[in-house]
Amino acid sequence: MMALHKYLIMNTLCYPILSIVIFLPLAGAILLLFMRGERSIKMTALITAAINFPLSLIIYSGFDIGTEKFQFGEFAPWIPAYNINYVLGIDGITIFLILLTTLLAPLCILCSWTAIERRVKEFMFCILIMETAMIGVFCALDFILFYVFWEAMLIPMYLLIAIWGGPNKDYASIKFFIYTLFGSVFLLVAIIAVYLTTGTFSIPDAMFRDYGFSFQLWVFLAFAIAFAIKVPMFPFHTWLPAAHTEAPTAGSVFLASVLLKMGTYGFLRFCLPITPKASVFFGPYMIALSVIGIIYGGFVCLSQTDMKKLIAYSSVAHMGFATLGIFSFTVFGWEGALLQMLNHGVTTGALFLCVGIVYERTHSREIYDNVGLGKIMPAYVGFFGLFSISSFAFPGTNNFVGELYVLIGIFSQSKLAGFFSIVGALLAAAYMLRLLKQIVWGREDKREIADMKAREVIYLLPLALFVVWMGLFPRPFVQVIEKTLMNLHSQMNIFLR
């Protein structure tokens, strides 16, 4: 307990805010089990998720940007025999990821309002369990606790794809399951290796210790496989298009917006502080894989005819920028990576929501079946246009800021890698504009498709506002994450010397 205070500021509120935010959705999920009637189930789920967002804003408003320590700390002994504790805390890396999760959860429930027609109770149950697990992953400061939450995401996500998914759901869900489980095993190995060396499961305790170089190499590889699958980095990405495409809209949003961030979060939280030397050693290879992912993702997107698949592959390219920023080992790159994670979560989530909206009307995800909506659904096209220009990092939108930070980071380290990643940025503009042009103007025919309903506007509007707000006024966001990353940078430099 004493050692904790070095890196953890205990929660000073009179209630355990992190635990509340984590377990409120779980409580709601359990409540759902005792309820009947689709409407009341949906309402309960929505209200639970909707309350959780303002609660998470309490965390944001109380967040101290002047410290690099973990905040809102909570501690309780769990399995003292093995020194396993229930430790929670957040820092600049996680604060926005938590907010992103709590923001998207109610939107996901709203977008499933009519799209999910069977087993509504089980669906909402899975969504809420997912929310608990995802927030838990970001808050956990104990390896075992982290691993429990990490694994807890797997089953509900599998069920979301396998039960409510598209025509090819069996293949997609099994592939997702196998890939993720495969990664988890390596994660567990790395955790145990660290435990055997340090004798603690405390994550902050394991950071910046004097591990041997070969130990770092192996541990890094184990971590990296787990996280690279999650990101996903080329060549571990093949589960993603299948899973994203077949999942129901809410599942795709969770997958793209939050689950992919687990990988990049893992790199920042585990690989860099625990195995700094190995990270630098493998840095060039990781940069190469990121650049390949960016360019490969872009080319694959160009040839897609399925809207959802296109957006799924664009995630490979976008997350390539995030890993590129991380392995540039500059504060700029890391800030860019974090912004990219947040922005990709919002923009790609919004694009999946958009596809969901049009799918409910035309029952097809093919671009060709959904072309020429400009005249028929003007409001929809407005939203879709904003999110797609944001997706290819149009200046003035959120993604541009993240991409600029990453580019500054990578150009200052390696101009070659920088110029290669520019190719990816170029491809992004090409495939998104091609999609946008088709959707807006493709072919003209008179079809009876209703424009967006109020419910649909409600769940896209906050995301649209965020896109513009973040694009024009990003500095307050950066200031929140800056201290943590500066500290990480100086710590790494001490250990690399």
């Binding site: 700029f332 200046p395 003035g396 600029l404 500054i408 200052s412 170029l426 503009a429």
Partner: protein, 490 residues
């Protein structure tokens, strides 16, 4: 002196509000067009209100938000900004009236989208003018690109889509592929994206790596493909599939001038005269764009389609502006920047004329225009005046800028540039004079009768005549803009 004030943002806000109002008035065309007219006039007033302060030698600055240390969305009005700001906002008023006549006469579809995008393109041009950093410049530059796409593709037929595709591929490709790395390289070398206050020094430090500075410079020069420097000029003739007012305002004034303006801005306020001189980048730029000046004029000679000829003339004339600034002496810079104004007024007249001929007589080809001066005396009279300006004959506006350009070339004792300027003058005469000749001296025999007149609607002819008269006025009384640009010199 620097004045901290939100005033640079006001024209931009006015245009933004105008475009929103236009898009909300879909069902009521008269109201919608009133918004356009009111918006354009108010914008110009807002711009003009900044003239006294700039004339007094001040700069107006405003920072909207910070993106990163040294990177911000900020605005800074100096003489160069104001030149482009005045031209784009003033000509928007003309274009609005002309638009109304043109779009209604031809009964075009999707007019609300058209007017909205038109306004946002002006917003981009205004934003580019008042940008105080490369970040804001890039932001507004891209806004122009994306919102002019629907204008170029307006007809939504195969030809329109093909032209618009080329347009977006050239412009988006260069801005993402060349401009973005140039901006990032600049930031890495200097730690800031804000423009320098002194056109002599720029923002680079003495010890910066000259290879990477050169790389960044070349990326900038080609990254601003809106300036249509060869070999990245091909989008401009293709974009002529757009309705003529679009070609007029955007492809003679707002879009292409944004390109040359950005190049001038980057040369003067990012690199600075001294650095460009030390690395010999200025004079090589001048030589390079000379190729464009001559080649585009020669291609223009071969074009029979009036808009295509005007397009290639634009390509050639834009490079005058770059050439002037690249001479890096006071007369050259003055002549180049002055040409933004002079070419703007004259070229918009020519495009307006082309549109009026199409509306009134459905003619596009120059070979069909024999004797058209009898049917459209006002239009073709204005055309004659404006083409004199393009050729650089006194007393029309183009003469003044050409005078300063020649002066600039003489000051640095550069004979090749002098020859280029003279040769291009002859070429200009070669492709403009025959049009006027054909219109008035060929085809029709016999006296001119009042009943022959078959002009376009008055809302189109009035802007044409006014714009051509302003061209003459600018030639006779150039002091205002010459003095204004003089504020730029240290």
């Amino acid at each position: 002196m620097k004045i901290e004030s939100i005033r640079p943002l006001i024209p931009i806000i006015i245009v933004l509000v105008t475009s929103l109002l236009i898009s909300l008035s879909k069902k009521r065309p008269n109201l919608r067009e009133s918004w356009s007219i009111a918006g354009s006039i108010l914008t110009f007033i807002a711009v003009a209100s900044m003239i006294p302060d700039i004339m007094a030698g001040n700069k107006i600055v405003y920072t909207l938000s910070t993106i990163a240390p040294g990177i911000s969305i900020n605005f800074r009005v100096d003489a160069l900004s104001l030149i482009f700001g005045i031209v784009s906002s003033f000509l928007w008023i003309f274009a609005t009236f002309y638009n109304i006549g043109y779009m209604r006469s031809l009964n075009e579809h999707a007019q609300t989208r058209y007017y909205t995008c038109f306004a946002i393109a002006i917003l981009g041009a205004q934003g580019v003018s008042y940008s105080g950093s490369l970040f804001s410049l890039y932001l507004f530059y891209e806004i122009i690109t994306i919102f002019t796409y629907p204008l170029v593709a307006h007809h939504q037929d195969a030809e329109g889509y093909a032209g618009a595709k080329k347009y977006i591929v050239y412009l988006m490709g260069t801005s993402k592929g060349l401009l973005l790395p140039a901006v990032v390289l600049t930031y890495i070398m200097t730690g800031t994206l804000d423009f320098s206050d002194n056109i002599l020094t720029g923002i680079f430090t003495k010890d910066a790596n000259s290879t990477w500075i050169t790389v960044a410079y070349i990326l900038f020069l080609f990254g601003f493909a809106k300036a249509a420097i060869m070999p990245l000029h091909n989008w401009l003739p293709s974009a002529m599939v757009a309705p003529t007012p679009v070609s007029a305002l955007l492809h003679a004034v707002a879009v292409v001038k944004a390109g040359v303006f950005c190049i001038a801005r980057v040369m003067l306020s990012v690199f600075g005269v001294e650095l460009l001189n030390n690395l010999c980048l200025g004079i090589w730029t001048a030589y390079f764009v000379s190729i464009t000046i001559l080649l585009a004029s020669i291609i223009a000679l071969t074009k029979d389609d009036l808009k295509a000829r005007l397009a290639y003339s634009t390509v050639s004339q834009l490079s005058y502006i770059v050439l002037g600034v690249a001479l890096l002496d006071p007369s050259g810079i003055l002549g180049g920047i002055l040409h933004i104004v002079n070419h703007g007024f004259s070229k918009i007249t020519l495009f307006f004329c082309a549109g009026a001929i199409f509306v009134a007589a459905q003619k596009r080809k120059i070979s069909d225009m024999e004797g058209i001066g009898y049917a459209m005396p006002f239009t073709m009279g204005a055309f004659a005046i404006a083409s004199l300006s393009m050729i650089g004959a006194p007393p029309v506006a183009g003469f003044v800028s050409k005078w300063y350009l020649l002066n600039g070339a003489l000051e640095i004792h550069n004979i090749p540039i002098l020859i280029v300027l003279m040769a291009s003058t002859i070429l200009n005469a070669g492709y403009f004079a025959p049009i006027t000749f054909k219109a008035f001296f060929q085809g029709k025999r016999g006296g001119w009768k009042r009943g022959d007149i078959k002009e376009a609607p008055a809302t189109m002819v009035a802007p044409i005549v006014l714009a051509s008269l302003i061209s003459v006025a600018l030639g006779l009384f150039p002091e205002f803009f010459v003095n204004l640009i003089g504020r730029l010199m240290p």
